[in-house]
């Protein structure tokens, strides 16, 4: 290892922080249920809902918080949410069935994303709100409603491609939604189909961290709502989608230092920090850094509820007043669909250390884990965060200080690297130790998991603390009837 260790320590809040202070409990779980293992803290997601709600309250806005189910497939989180006043955003037949089966009533479900006929049928039949991608989908819904004499379906019209005046703000291309330039034709269709669909509002989802693009889209939605009202509809809600983000790291200074060193490594001004000189999107050309860092901004001082607060306080690009004020005085409800931000601090992924191997050069070790890269898809999602080392109980610590290691997976495949970067650990792990990847519940737990080479998928358990001791249940066995609020009933 060269120079001081470049740590990227995860930010930990209760109850995740106290769970990590109970290594014996976590070792017992992995002994019984195998490596890898996903551990969820369902009570925390209810707390996260409350944090978003408090931002809505501060802006005097009515509305709803929808959990984007795709961020985590577990039952425990969805069943726990069903016991709050929150709602859920489902993007497949399976997720819709899961939400209904977990206790969400149709008025607390919105169906989004690409829909196959089965998904559309169940959505229309149960009367959930449908976020409709365009005219074609509205017509498909109307056909079902008319043919089966069903009640009118509540729809949100998903819009995209919002233009700006004066300054051209380029936005990333989206596969979804109807361009606002085609709004008139879309609303003509809504009028023709008004016996079958009821437009309760409009929606957008932009995959960007940029507030300016979102402010532009939200203002575009205000104009679209006005157009709906002009045509005699009574729309109530604007759905601003997700993308509120998570602040993964405890220390901004570590992130700043790491990314500076990474750039220097790519320029060849310091020893490599990555497997095979991988640059995470950066490369060097004639001594100049080119490309863009293709990583999640792991240190984000303004994320989650605070990001929503900032968005609502941002002045609308042409109407001038803060967006939250405009929503309020136009009497609109605000729907939000956070995924990652609601799953923040809600779980961790555990893996057993299988093998520790030194290398010829001696500047790093290879640590093989009982998991594959797909089980904890931090690299896939560009989230750089150090795992925590949980030694086997009673074992004296390995002598020696900080080490640089690469974490490899259990597949017989060169590319199965759990980290393509050198991870700095305070000391060398030993076989049998656990590595805990904290805060993986949003997208980094089961989103990419595969059964390649017939390797088992991780089991998932839900845990809660009861009278000072940790209790656990298999995800399937979790219901919020006897294990929330921290005490048995």
């Amino acid at each position: 290892m060269h120079g001081d260790p470049l740590y990227l320590e995860p930010g930990l809040e209760p109850p995740l922080s106290s769970l990590l202070e109970s290594p014996a409990f976590l070792h017992t779980l992995v002994d019984a249920l195998g490596s890898p293992l996903n551990v969820l803290l369902p009570d925390r997601i209810a707390e996260n809902i409350e944090r978003f709600r408090s931002v809505l309250r501060r802006h005097r806005l009515a509305g709803q918080v929808f959990f984007a189910h795709k961020a985590n497939g577990s039952s425990a989180l969805v069943r726990r949410l069903a016991a709050t006043d929150a709602a859920v955003d489902v993007a497949s037949l399976g997720e819709l069935q899961h939400a209904l089966g977990s206790g969400f009533t149709p008025d607390r479900i919105v169906a989004t994303g690409p829909k196959d006929p089965q998904f559309r049928w169940l959505a229309v039949l149960t009367g959930v709100t449908v976020s409709a991608d365009g005219q074609g989908e509205l017509e498909d819904i109307a056909t079902l409603v008319r043919k089966h004499a069903l009640p009118r379906v509540r729809v949100l019209l998903r819009l995209s491609d919002f233009g700006a005046s004066g300054i051209k703000v380029l936005s990333r291309q989206s596969r979804f939604g109807t361009s606002v330039r085609g709004l008139d034709r879309l609303l003509d269709a809504v009028e023709r189909l008004r016996d079958a669909v009821e437009p309760t509002g409009v929606a957008y989802h932009l995959d960007t961290t940029s507030l300016d693009e979102k402010a532009l889209a939200l203002e575009g939605c205000l104009h679209a709502m006005n157009e709906l009202r002009r045509r005699g509809f009574e729309p109530r809600a604007i759905d601003t989608g997700g993308g509120y983000g998570v602040n993964y790291l405890a220390h901004g200074a570590q992130w700043d230092r790491y990314t500076t060193e990474l750039a220097l490594a790519v320029l060849g001004r310091r020893p490599p920090l990555t497997w095979g000189g991988h640059g995470y999107g950066l490369h060097a050309a004639n001594g100049t850094l080119r490309g863009a860092l293709s990583l999640y901004p792991a240190h984000r001082p303004v994320a989650g509820p605070a990001y929503l607060d900032t968005l609502l306080s941002t002045p609308a690009p042409s109407l001038g007043r803060p967006l939250g004020t405009l929503l309020l005085e136009n009497l609109y409800d605000l729907y939000i669909e956070p995924g990652r931000a609601l799953a923040d601090q809600c779980g961790l992924s555990l893996a057993r250390v299988q093998e520790v191997r030194g290398t010829e050069s001696g500047d790093h070790h290879l640590i093989r884990l009982g998991m594959t890269a797909s089980d904890v898809s931090l690299e896939e999602h560009g989230v750089l965060m150090d795992p925590l080392l949980l030694p086997r109980d009673g074992a004296p610590p390995e002598p020696g200080g900080p080490v640089g290691v690469y974490l490899t997976g259990s597949l017989c495949l060169e590319a199965d690297l759990i980290t393509r970067r050198m991870v700095h650990l305070p000391r060398l792990p030993r076989p049998g130790d656990l590595l805990a990847f904290a805060n993986t519940a949003g997208y980094c737990m089961d989103f990419n998991a595969t059964r390649a080479q017939r390797q088992p998928l991780a089991r998932t358990v839900a845990v809660h603390r009861d009278a000072g001791t940790w209790q656990w249940r298999l995800d399937d066995e979790y219901w919020p009837i006897n294990c929330h609020g921290g005490h048995e009933q």
Partner: protein, 439 residues
């Protein structure tokens, strides 16, 4: 001095000695090179003119658009130059961070294109960043663009090698200063000047100043971003030191308030970084030495930059008749009226109904017969006194009844005998099933 064109007035800027009583250095004469006095307002005038000039006749013939990646002074100078030569100019940027500059560019006739932000859900296969795509588009055959390429164009450095550098030597009676300090943006000015000074005297020491990471000083790059600059060569500088935005504003205040130099925050950063670097060296010195730093632009465009970071510098005394001066007790004592009673009151006494929401919201739906005065305007109106007769009853309405209660309290304090606030606002009115109309 008489010129045929404003571009002839670029360069030959003064070198001003900073009063030792201000900087406190005992053995060093400190000079500021006032690049802010270039005709379009900044050091970038030199580079913009030098880069654009050779291509202008051809660009005009082919009807090309002048293009640059800039969110500041280079864009400003190029916009003026393009306008003078009947060309259009497009500025492409990763977000304009100073709103005044954005408006200034629009006023000068520039077109602004903002690149998209980063994705929230990372697509690792998308290694193509917006900037790479921008360059590909410009170099495509048939592209009608004249790209000045300030971060890579050697003509940028040349402007300072033939202009700024020799001017400094001449003004110091043919001697190079012992230190030269500059903020690093495109690295054009620091590289060009450093080259001339070193050729003259290899002993000159060059200090580059960059922004602290995760901080922002207009026009200069931070610790990491300098590596993305083609003209940047670490060997140009004996040392590179970071400056924070707070320090930049401190430096700016010293220049503005004590030296009569109306510099912007970047010039302030240069002054602050210079004095910080020289102070410990100064105490060791025995003979006289000289140092030169660059003041790159003016303060006027950065009021919002200062307001965001040091609001107290732009503070004003409290206003007359302001809701901000109301006590909680006054607000609680405001007369509020619920929807049902308000409907009866409107029918019986025809109070003036004032809707405090924005015109956009009012136009969509409002209480029939109401007048729209948006809260910001109403606020200004009240500073002058009561805008209606005391015999005219008034009902105030806002979205949820909070703002209207405050204004009702204020009007009561101003002596109005019958002003009421709609309880729960227009939302409660709607939820009670009362009629809202649009015209």
């Amino acid at each position: 001095m008489r010129y045929d064109s404003i571009t002839d007035a670029i360069g030959n800027t003064p070198l001003i000695r900073i009063d030792p009583a201000v900087h406190g250095l005992r053995n060093i004469d400190l000079y500021a090179k006032l690049e802010m006095l270039n005709p379009f307002g900044s050091v970038k005038d030199r580079a913009a003119w030098n880069m654009a000039r050779p291509g202008l006749p051809g660009a005009r013939e082919r009807g090309e658009t002048l293009v640059e990646l800039s969110s500041g002074n280079t864009a400003k100078a190029l916009a003026v130059i393009a306008g003078m030569h009947d060309l259009s100019f497009k500025s492409v940027t990763n977000r304009m961070r100073v709103p005044e500059i954005k408006e200034l560019l629009l006023l000068l006739g520039a077109e602004i294109e903002e690149l998209p932000g980063r994705t929230e859900c990372l697509d690792p296969t998308d290694t193509d960043d917006p900037l790479t795509r921008f360059h590909q588009e410009l170099t495509r055959p048939g592209s009608a663009h004249l790209h000045t390429d300030q971060y890579f164009n050697a003509l940028n450095t040349e402007a300072h090698e033939t202009g700024t550098g020799p001017e400094i030597l001449a003004d110091l009676d043919g001697r190079a200063p012992d230190w030269f300090i500059a903020c690093v943006g495109t690295a054009g000015s620091s590289t060009g000047v450093a080259r001339v000074l070193r050729d003259h005297d290899p002993a000159v020491r060059v200090v580059g100043l960059v922004g602290q990471k995760s901080d922002f000083i207009p026009g200069i790059r931070n610790t990491d971003e300098v590596h993305e600059v083609g003209l940047f060569d670490p060997a140009t500088y004996d040392t590179i030191e970071p400056v924070g935005s707070g320090e930049a504003i401190d430096g700016m205040l010293t220049l503005v308030r004590r030296c009569g130099i109306l510099a912007g925050p970047t010039g302030g950063a240069a002054y602050f970084g210079t004095v910080r670097h020289l102070r410990p060296l100064d105490t060791e010195l025995t003979g006289r030495k000289t140092a030169v730093f660059i003041v790159c632009d003016r303060m006027e465009s950065y009021l919002s930059y200062v307001r965001d970071r040091r609001p107290e510098l732009l503070g004003r005394p409290p206003l007359m008749n302001s809701v901000a001066t109301l006590t909680d007790a006054e607000v609680r004592a405001a007369d509020i009226i619920d929807t049902a009673d308000a409907q009866k009151w409107i029918a019986a006494e025809r109070p003036l109904v004032i809707d405090l929401r924005s015109p956009f919201a009012y136009a969509a739906l409002h209480i029939e017969g109401s007048v729209n005065i948006v809260d910001e305007l109403f606020d200004e109106l009240l500073r002058g006194g009561l805008p209606f007769s005391k015999r005219q009853p008034v009902l105030l309405a806002c979205p949820v009844g909070e703002k209207s209660a405050r204004y009702a309290a204020l009007l009561t304090r101003m002596g109005h005998p019958d002003v009421r606030s709609l309880a729960g606002g227009i939302i409660a009115w709607r939820d009670a099933g009362a009629t809202l109309v649009r015209d």
